[in-house]
Structure formats: structure tokens, C-alpha cells
């Protein structure tokens, strides 16, 4: 407890940084995930090819490697951004591949007739997806999406190795002050637990709301 109280401000700032990194990356991952999933189920072949390539590339690259590519690679093309932005890009793009696949499996649970009925009424592809298919897919994607978001929260720890201040990285400061390594990490673990349990609770709530509206 002493470790926590003595270093409260270090922990707190690390915790907030991780939380913020998670939220911003999650927002990017969800937006990109919806777009890429739309590409993957679209009737236009080049879009499908793009979606498949996006998922294949990002899902099969180790996240650490992706960080290296973004942090060291983008500046070579004259793109220099704050480390935080680089981290959000790496985490958001990486996670978007998983979000996309979750959404796509959700789309596949909606009977084909729903989309056919929508198209036969003159709804465009976007309207069919947005007004008819995705709202029905939503029910079956809530739980797996929660898992993806928890994985994202934990993946933010990698950003610490790339000059981004976050919760895991706070061990260096505390360790240098001579505090025991075990308790230092226990409190860090508790910090992650708070975030991941909060995500669990959020998605459990969403799941219950979906169940009620059925």
C-alpha cells in the first residue's frame, strides 16, 4: 500500500494515460473497423480486396513490429507526429482488423433475406448495411467486441516501450526510487484490472440492453 500512496501521482498519471490511449485507439479502431467491414461485404470487388488485404496484413503482424513500422517508418516519409499519435495509429489500425472480423461474423448471422428485402425496396448498399443489417448484427457482436476492447487496453502497454507515457512504463520511475519490484507491478496490474473490468461491465450492460429490446 505504501508503494501506491508514495507514488500515487506517478500511478495516477500512468493510469490516466493508459485510459486515454485506450479510449482514443478504441474510437479509431471502431470507426476503421466499421469502414473495413463495409468494404469486405460490399458488392464492389476492389473494396473487398482492399478490406481483405487490410485485415490480413494487420492481423498477422506482431503489434510490436507494427509500432516499429509506424514510429520508425513513417518519419522516413516525412511524417513526424507526437509519439502518442503514432501509438494511437498503430493500436487503432491493428485493432480495427479484429473489429472488422467481429462485425463481419455478425453480419453473417443476419439472414440474407434481410438484405435482399432492403435492396428490393431501393435502399442503397450503405442504407441496407446501416439501417437493416448492422443493427441486427449488433446483437451478436457485443460480447466478442468486448473481448477485442479488453485486448486493446492491455496492448497499450507496448506503447510504453515507444516513448509514450502510460501505466506500465511508470514502473521505471518507481523502481529507480528503490521501491520493491513485486509490489510496484501488483499495483500496475490492479490499474489494468480497473480498466479491463470497466470495459467488461460496459459491454455486459450493452448486452443486457440488447437482450431487453429483443
Amino acid at each position: 500500500m505504501k508503494v501506491l500512496i508514495d507514488n500515487w501521482s506517478t500511478y495516477w498519471h500512468g493510469f490516466l494515460a493508459t485510459l486515454w490511449l485506450t479510449l482514443v485507439s478504441a474510437a479509431l479502431a471502431l470507426v476503421l473497423g466499421v469502414l473495413v467491414a463495409s468494404c469486405r461485404v460490399s458488392p464492389v470487388r476492389p473494396l473487398r480486396v482492399f478490406g481483405t488485404a487490410w485485415v490480413t496484413l494487420l492481423r498477422n503482424t506482431p503489434l510490436t513490429l507494427l509500432f516499429f513500422i509506424v514510429v520508425l517508418g513513417l518519419p522516413r516519409f516525412g511524417i513526424t507526429l507526437p509519439f502518442f499519435t503514432f501509438a494511437v495509429l498503430a493500436l487503432g489500425c491493428y485493432t480495427s482488423a479484429f473489429v472488422c472480423e467481429v462485425l463481419r461474423s455478425g453480419v453473417n448471422t443476419v439472414p440474407a433475406g434481410q438484405g435482399e428485402a432492403a435492396r428490393s425496396l431501393g435502399l442503397s448498399f450503405g442504407q441496407t448495411l446501416g439501417l437493416v443489417v448492422l443493427p441486427q448484427a449488433y446483437r451478436s457482436v457485443v460480447a466478442p467486441l468486448g473481448s477485442v476492447m479488453i485486448a486493446l487496453a492491455k496492448n497499450t502497454a507496448i506503447a510504453g516501450s515507444f516513448s509514450v507515457a502510460e501505466l506500465l512504463g511508470s514502473y521505471r520511475t518507481i523502481n529507480e526510487l528503490g521501491y520493491g519490484i513485486v509490489w510496484t507491478f501488483v499495483w500496475i496490474a490492479v490499474g489494468y484490472l480497473v480498466i479491463t473490468l470497466a470495459i467488461s461491465a460496459l459491454f455486459n450492460g450493452l448486452e443486457r440492453r440488447v437482450a431487453v429490446s429483443r
Binding site: P111, E116, S120, L121, G122, L123, Q127, V132, Q136
Partner: protein
Amino acid sequence: MTAAFPPLIELRGVNKHFGPLHVLQDIDLTVGRGEVVVVIGPSGSGKSTLCRAINRLEPVDDGVITIDGRPLPAEGKGLARLRADVGMVFQSFNLFAHRTVLQNVTLAPLRVRKRPKEEAERRALDLLDRVGLADQADKYPAQLSGGQQQRVAIARALAMDPKALLFDEPTSALDPEMINEVLDVMRGLAREGMTMVVVTHEMGFARASANRVVFMADGRIVEDRAPEDFFTRPSSARARDFLSKILEH
């Protein structure tokens, strides 16, 4: 015989394959404005595919399909506009499960026709009243019987003021006692001069309400005649065989 009806839907030399299966073979068919054409035939004869090809839910390999003189456009805005004018009723109803009956009927008028909400709802309630379901407007599809769902589906198609309606086996998924409530609505539409292409096994409907019966087998149109002629004097052995199997019991 079709001279009385100016052509609305025309298929010329339409072919379609599913892998090695040649499901539509050189189909020529004209449906006049205000005409009711019933398509019958054994299962696997291509009649559902024919029906779905008319609004391009099934793209065809070659041949020309025109609606109101315009060839079917490729996938995109043009096709969506055309589909808005051609209603479709499915075997499995396909009502939007997450929306109420009223929302099912108003969705396309609001989003495709951009009609004001009050107007779309008023019209939807009129149509629901017409199919006898105005009191069910706030229920979800799953709370309705099959016959009720199919009547909502017809109201949903009518809400777009379509030039023609396609029915793909509209009563095949229904319990026998619900078939008539759907056929009643369809008979009413036929009397009012709605252009209809109806794929069905309901010979009674074909006899009473069709202007023409198209008999398909193995991907071809085998006969295309007035219903009375077809049912009393089928000219092909294939049709005689089919009729003997379904009319005996």
C-alpha cells in the same frame, strides 16, 4: 393476347448458370402493364430465379431485361432507383426483424422516397388497414403469424407505389389456414390492375386471377397461355405430367 397491355417488363434471350447448372435458358417473356402473370412449374425449374432476375437480385449471364423500356442498370444508384419501382414479396417474408410493423412499411418511403414522416406514416397505416393489420402497427414481426407477416410485407412493397410487384412463392411458407388471407390481398391487387409476376403453387389463384400462365421446366418456358387453356388443354407432355401430379389430390 398481350396487345391489350403495353409492355412493362421484358426479358429477351436471358440466360443464367449456377455453376454447371443452366437455370435460365433463352428466356423470352413480356409482362404488360396491368397484367397478372403466374409462373408455375416443378421445383428447380428456374421460376424463382426468373422472378429474382427481374429486379436483379440474381444477375443474369446474358440477355436483356427491360422495365418500362429501360434496361436494368448494373449494381449502384440506378439499380436502387429501379428496384424502388418494383416491389418484391418473398417466400420467407423478410420483414426487418428489429423494426416494428409500421417502421417496416415506412422505412423505404422515408429513406428512399424522402417523404415527410407524417405522410409516410399516414400512408403506411392506410396500407396496413387495407391488408387488415392497422391494429398491429406497433408490434414486431416476430409477434405476428406468418400470414400477417406476409400481408405486412405486401403493404411494405405497396408503400413505394411500385409499377409492378414480384411475388416469389408468397404462400409456400404458410400454414394452410393462412394462405387465403394472403391470396385475398393478392386477388384484390390483381382486380385493381396491379402488374404482377407471381411464382406460386396456388393453382386456384392462377386460374381465377391470372391473365396468363407461364409454365417452366428445366430452365425453359414451356407454355405461356391463358389460364383456362393451360389448365384444360395443356399442349406439352411436361405440363400434362405436372398438372396430373398436382391436381389429382
